[in-house]
Amino acid sequence: MTTTTSTPTRTARAAAGTADYLDQRTGIGVAVKTFARKIFPDHWSFLLGEIALYSFITILISGVFLTMFFVPSMNETVYNGPWPTMQGVEMSEAFASTLRLSFEVRGGLLMRQIHHWAALIFMAAIVTHMMRIFFTGAFRKPRELNWVVGFTLLILGLAAGFSGYSLPDDVLSGNGLRITDGVVRAIPIIGSYMSYFIFGGEFPGQDLIPRLFTVHVLLVPGLILALIGLHLFFVVLHKHTQFPGSGRTNSNVVGYPVFPVYTAKAGGYFFIVFGVIALMGATMSINPVWNYGPFDPSPVSAGAQPDWYMLFLEGSLRLMPGAAEIVIAGFTIPLNVIIPAMIVPGVLFTLLAAYPFVEALATGDKREHHILDRPRNRPFRTAFGVSLLVAFFILVLAGSNDLIATHFHLSINDITWTFRVLLFLGPWFAFYITKRICLGLQRKDRELVLHGHETGRIVRFASGEYIEVHKPLDAHERWLRVQHDAIRPLEIEPAEDSRGVRRKGYRADRIRQRLSEMFYEDRIDPVTPAELAAAHSHGEHDVLEPAGAHGELTGAVGGGQHFVAPTDETHPEKRNR
């Protein structure tokens, strides 16, 4: 609409007319107006969750296309199509229709590949988004429930991926189902009944593909959609968190309105996400089922692995020594399956889901938090997150041990033993290193706040003494480094009251205090105003002239540290980003 508002074009009038029609009947104008003016803070990492959302939309669109041609049936048929290595081979209708989708339906292979790449990106985006939430402490009150919703979405994503991966009924995914069957059977007492229940009889049976189809196209996507709705509703309800910075508090949101800024940014980002996935689908082969052939329980090929998000389970199984199977009074307890396939993921996922509540318990903090933490300022949390990731990563690598062996010319036996040891040592080592790095960065922050930037300017005095001139931080830089709370371990009431009577609940309190000490015993407190004042007042050299405009920092100097006024005050907007 390039014309002036006084003479609206036909399109503008049509748009206004439609909007008015809708508004008069639904009153939607109020909602649109409110939402369009809603403020969101700006940071690239806030877009990670959007990758997940947009790749999910891509999955839905391409998935609808695939359901038009896929036949979810295990009935036998004989292939008679263009792919030479499958000519006249007996296979299920599911597999035959997947081949038809790939080689005969126009655009079918592209859609299949877009669907599968989008699924891998979806899971990767969820994990990346979750890391952002975790390391910045965005899960703290009031957002704990939204963390649980997000965690459930992660699990549902796994379920969606696994059920879809198994649908083509090829050898590779069939191997995965056989492992699933084995894991289900390993559940004590009810295992074999469960297996018959899931597969509708002895593995593989005739029921599984239709069942997985319903799970994959109806049940799981429905749940995911509902939970995404809830997830986003919570984001709007709680308002978005923001990184610390001058002017940003727990009671405001500094950013830009949804309209026009985020409609452009987020809307544009959808097309970027879709574009990248489409590019991958068009140029990179994924899950070429014709390589594996139709399912048959006997063959297992080298390099049989699940998609990346399930690879840690594969790794866990590969690392477990087989000798752990024990027999008690004629009953086999397959610990060699129970431990790697149930206990290891159980521990990892429980730690992940429960972490916000454990941290809240250790912190004893009931306040709301809308300002994100800088990861260095919460060393225990950051170190814990890194060690969880390291454990996950070691399991992923262990699941790829055969490819590591062939590509780096190593012995697979040595690799497996290395990972067995690393699985136990790696996370501790990563925890220790990360915590030290965090504490070191905090010390660096303190040093900067107290003494300013090194300028490299050496000044010689008349007396012959040399000093280096330090440039103090400006108010914005300093605020970023001192704004966070110093969290100390919880203090509890003594075990006995003044008359020596033992206090009820002391033991529980003591356990909580121990937990709190584990989190917050080692810490570097942010510089207090008193410390800052002290650092600036006990110097002996008062030689350099303070610049009047920046009074509070440039007065006295201390301990060989000399301050000059910052001369290149950039605009605060350009800083801390």
Partner: protein, 261 residues
């Protein structure tokens, strides 16, 4: 001097130095690396057992013994047949470069005539499988669909579903099959080199072997869906999803975040 000293501390200096060093190393390697042995002109002379024996004594007897009966460091070759020699020497595995978990393929050390002389000599020591005819290994005559069924039952567990190769125990591995010639594929099945089992004609018929060759030829490294990513399955797919997909998308997110609002 001062300007020079200041530039020396440029933070890009290490990167530039590293690039220069890499360039230098690569250039030197390209110049100095030994050129692969020139293929000798192929002459169609008849098999000469005596010439083969001479070659054997000069190149093989150290490990396999002067009468090819084997020593502590090499097995007996009596009865392995011409096919085994043609495979081992024809793929460069023999003469072995060094001992290790596995004797690996390397540039071929002899010309075709010498290989056939060696094969003739070893074949003369005892009855063994012969070198297959061109017709026996012609992929065009095989049935790739039957080859697929045979391949995944007998070969895929070590060589990967389409022959991309896979790991064995203790540093041994099943090699990639896409660059191996049909004749060598056939001979490998027939003689079972190193860790590979022997698939004799009772196990897999000569027609079956040809079907397998047809399958590898037909399917192998084909990619109707774009780049194969090594045909290694979900691990390489996952790696690329993170590197290319998430990499590009995070790059785009940073770009959008940095755009003025």
């Amino acid at each position: 001097m001062k300007a020079l000293a200041a530039r020396r501390h440029d933070r890009r200096a290490p990167v530039v130095l590293l690039l220069l060093a890499l360039l230098l190393t690569g250039g030197l390697y390209a110049v100095l690396a030994p050129a692969s042995a020139d293929a000798a002109p192929k002459t169609a002379s008849t098999d000469d057992i005596a010439a083969g024996e001479k070659l054997f004594q000069a190149n093989c007897a150290t490990c396999h013994g002067p009468s090819a009966a084997g020593t502590a460091s090499g097995p007996s070759l009596i009865g392995v047949g011409a096919a085994a020699v043609d495979f081992q020497v024809g793929t460069g595995r023999m003469p072995a470069q060094m001992s290790g978990p596995q004797i690996e393929a390397k540039p071929v050390q002899f010309d075709d005539e010498q290989i056939s002389q060696l094969a003739a000599y070893v074949a003369s020591l005892g009855v063994g499988p012969a070198i297959p005819t061109d017709e026996q290994v012609d992929p065009a005559l095989g049935d790739p669909a039957n080859g697929m069924a045979l391949f995944r039952t007998n070969c895929a567990m070590c060589h990967n579903a389409v022959g991309a190769g896979g790991a064995l125990s203790q540093g041994k591995f099943a090699p990639k099959l896409w660059e191996t010639s049909p004749r060598h594929l056939y001979e490998a099945m027939l003689t079972g080199p190193q860790s590979m089992p022997v698939f004799n004609d009772a196990n897999i018929t000569p027609e079956g072997k040809r079907d397998i060759i047809a399958f590898i030829d037909q399917q192998g490294d084909t990619a109707p869906g774009g780049m194969t990513l090594g045909a290694l399955g979900p691990v390489s797919e996952g790696l690329w999803a993170w590197v290319v997909g998430i990499g590009l998308l995070i790059g785009a997110a940073v770009w959008i975040g940095a755009k003025s609002s």
